[in-house]
């Protein structure tokens, strides 16, 4: 509103007064302000991360980050998950032990998930094998789309 009004000032003032320094200054000020507003807005629209707000399918990382029979932990929607690469494909499980909430680790030799705190063991489906955990680990659906690991949250 101010902007278009100002243009008219400049136009009509031509006839009435001299184009003085003040007019130029005000004009420049408003354009500067407009640019100052547009700049952060445009930057805001430019996606800074490959990942939007979490929910639904979350892109957690590149599939080749996880070697065969290896595992990697990610934070998705505020909780830790572990992605395991098996010859049958990727598996995504909650990385929070159901016993007391420790972060579980991956035992590469035995192909099992093991909790370092109280030695709870889980198989690659997340089912409890031994130790104090009351339940198995929750499983998430994971897909590989164009080389990216997509986890259904």
């Amino acid at each position: 509103m101010e902007k278009s009004g100002l243009k008219k000032t400049i136009d009509s003032d031509k006839k009435i007064t001299r184009r003085d320094f003040l007019d130029y200054f005000i004009k420049a000020g408003f354009f500067g302000l407009l640019a100052g507003m547009a700049y952060p807005a445009l930057n805001y629209l430019n996606p800074v991360t490959r990942q939007g707000p979490v929910g639904g399918l979350a892109d957690v990382g590149a599939a080749d980050e996880v070697p065969l029979w290896g595992a990697k932990k990610y934070i998705v929607a505020g909780s830790a998950i572990m992605v395991i690469h098996t010859p049958q494909g990727f598996k995504a499980l909650s990385a929070i032990c159901t016993h007391l909430g420790c972060l579980v680790g991956w035992d590469e030799q035995r192909h099992e998930i093991v909790c370092p705190c109280h030695a709870g063991r889980f198989d690659i489906e997340g089912a409890k094998i031994s130790g104090p955990p009351p339940r198995g680990l929750a499983a998430y659906h994971v897909n590989v789309v164009q080389g990216r690991l997509m986890v259904q949250v």
Binding site: P40, A41, V48, T49, G52, P53
Partner: protein, 379 residues
Amino acid sequence: MLKNMVSRWFEERFDVQAVKEPLEYQLRKPLPRNIGWFHTFGSMSLFLFVSQVLTGILLLIYYRPTEGEAFESVKFIMTQPYAGWLFRQVHAWGANLMILMVTIHMMRTYVTGSYKKPRELTWLIGVGLFMMTLVFGFTGYLLPWNQLAYWATTVGTEIAGAVPGIGEFAKTLMRGGVNVGGETLSRFFVLHVIVLPWALFFLIGFHIFLVRFQEMSTLDAVGEEKKTKPEDGIPFFPDHLLKEGVVFFVLMGVLITLSILAPFELGEKANPLSTPVGIKPEWYFMPMYHALKYFPKVFGVLLLGMAPLFLFIWPFVDRGRNRHPLKRPVSMTLGIITFVVVIFLGTLGCLSESKQNFFGKVYEFDIYGVPHQVTEQKL
């Protein structure tokens, strides 16, 4: 050169002069001499509305109105994209300032008696705009889906449920179910981003049209108003607009300063299973909320329901011809009493159920805002 070409292109197709002249007339229309800084609150409200629309559009880019994602997406906006935090803070502070500005604008109108004939309709629409701004605040408050939002909405809709007869129906309609949940979020979202903005847009348009069409009110009594002559008045453009420009800059500065120095917290995600202590509504609902505590539920809700009605019918009740505040002792006394009571209730509401330190003594305010001195326990 280019400008001439463009204007010629238009002139060949449209009767530009016929449009230009009334516009020019409106633009240069002289305003009465008494129009000054106090008459900028309305345009400040308008500026804040525009700011809300623009920042709202930006927030909508990343916001997701579902139970599972709302909080996360607001968290995302506040932490990830460039200046996302600024847009959210400006939007949140803008809402508060807008309600403040609309209220002050209404108070100014009351004091200068501008609601009197022939401008009753402008006042009516203004009251409608004020109500809708409050509903804007109420619906927007829920959208970040944090604990405070969730429980304030639960309490707020509960109050609506106390209205006899239709209360239960209204409550369920607002909540979209028995409890506040994902359905409520959807409803509030639709109201907040589609229904209210457009309704407000058209009403503001009509409001401004009436203001321009009926000329600005002066302090002259009803029926004695004189049309401002061009040589006596101040042209709206450029003179008055320059004043508006100053106000606009200061307001923008205040908005950004508040956003940076007193940011709104993100809070904790809404948890229907745990009620946080000391749930209170936003300040603009505080006087009403606190007043409700003193009355039996049904009676209180009915009594407070009368308040908007009272505002609506006021121009038809106060039929005195004088506009100058000093010539309207009854209206002014009534206005001042209302103002003091509202401020007093609001303050008590803020203080209730809290501990405050005055002059080195600790007072505990109970639910009715009555202070009790706490004798300090020495350990």
